[in-house]
Symmetry: C2
Subunit: 137 residues, 2 copies
DNA sequence: CTGCATCCGATCGGATACTG
DNA sequence: CAGTATCCGATCGGATGCAG
């Protein structure tokens, strides 16, 4: 018989459900991917990297993410108007979750993700540079 | 200037987007939580742990999860009919992602998640038992 | 009882056009 | 370039029904 995996402290509300209240909406994690990983940080750039996403929904998601403290405007300019988006500390903390999704997709959907259809581990995809200089970004 | 974090092998399609095609639907990750962590593995039990989820949507999600190879029926009985659900290896591989969400919620929504409103780390929540017997489940 | 199916109103997301 | 406005279809949530 399997038994539930219980935390040392009781949850008053489920942290998964709580997190998904914000992160669980359609496009939200992909917008964070753009800003956090790809450094695609402007409105129309994000639209271009996410075919199917429309301006209305992107504006909604960016507003929610900013209100919830995941993102912030890091540069604003007018004529021409330019807004760039960046992650807050809270937003950065979603990147391990995104990494989990990268690992999962690379293992279980290799024929979709890779041209050679070979599954790969996170370590293969993002090798640690331990010699001379460990700086990655 | 930040530069994008690139994998050692080019992605033909984004593994995050690919993974979310299945995992990104409403309720899906919470159903996996029930089966994988809580061992709540029967239809009406799952319904009870997830207020707001209706039989119609749960049936849809269970069908999708089974078709996509995340879950399987591990026990079937008739009169009374009983179906129990379990995770496949692929389903088990989503648990680290759920753990990421647990860690995120426990850090950033402590007043929702914990009665004492104190944020906690994954290590505090699931301390490693290193003495005598490291078996957790 | 349990595991669904059906119907329906509400909400959300998508397409397109438009504005500062 | 960064968003809004409007319209419409898809999906969701809620109630109810039903067979095994």
């Amino acid at each position: 018989m399997d038994s539930p995996l219980l935390p040392s402290v009781r949850f008053q509300n489920c942290p998964i459900r709580t997190s998904l209240g914000v992160l669980g909406k359609r496009w939200t994690l992909l917008v964070l991917r753009d800003i956090g990983f790809l450094k695609v940080d402007r409105f129309n750039q994000i639209l271009r990297t996410l075919p199917g996403l429309t301006p209305r929904v992107l504006a909604m998601r960016l507003r929610e993410l900013e209100q919830e403290g995941f993102t912030k405007q890091i540069e604003v300019q007018k004529t021409p108007r330019i807004v760039r988006w960046g992650l807050t500390a809270k937003g950065e903390d979603t990147l391990p979750i995104l990494m989990g999704l990268i690992g999962f997709g690379s293992k279980w959907y290799p024929e979709v993700v890779f041209a050679d259809s070979q599954p790969r581990t996170p370590e293969e995809l993002f090798p640690k540079r331990v010699k001379y200089n460990p700086v990655i970004r």
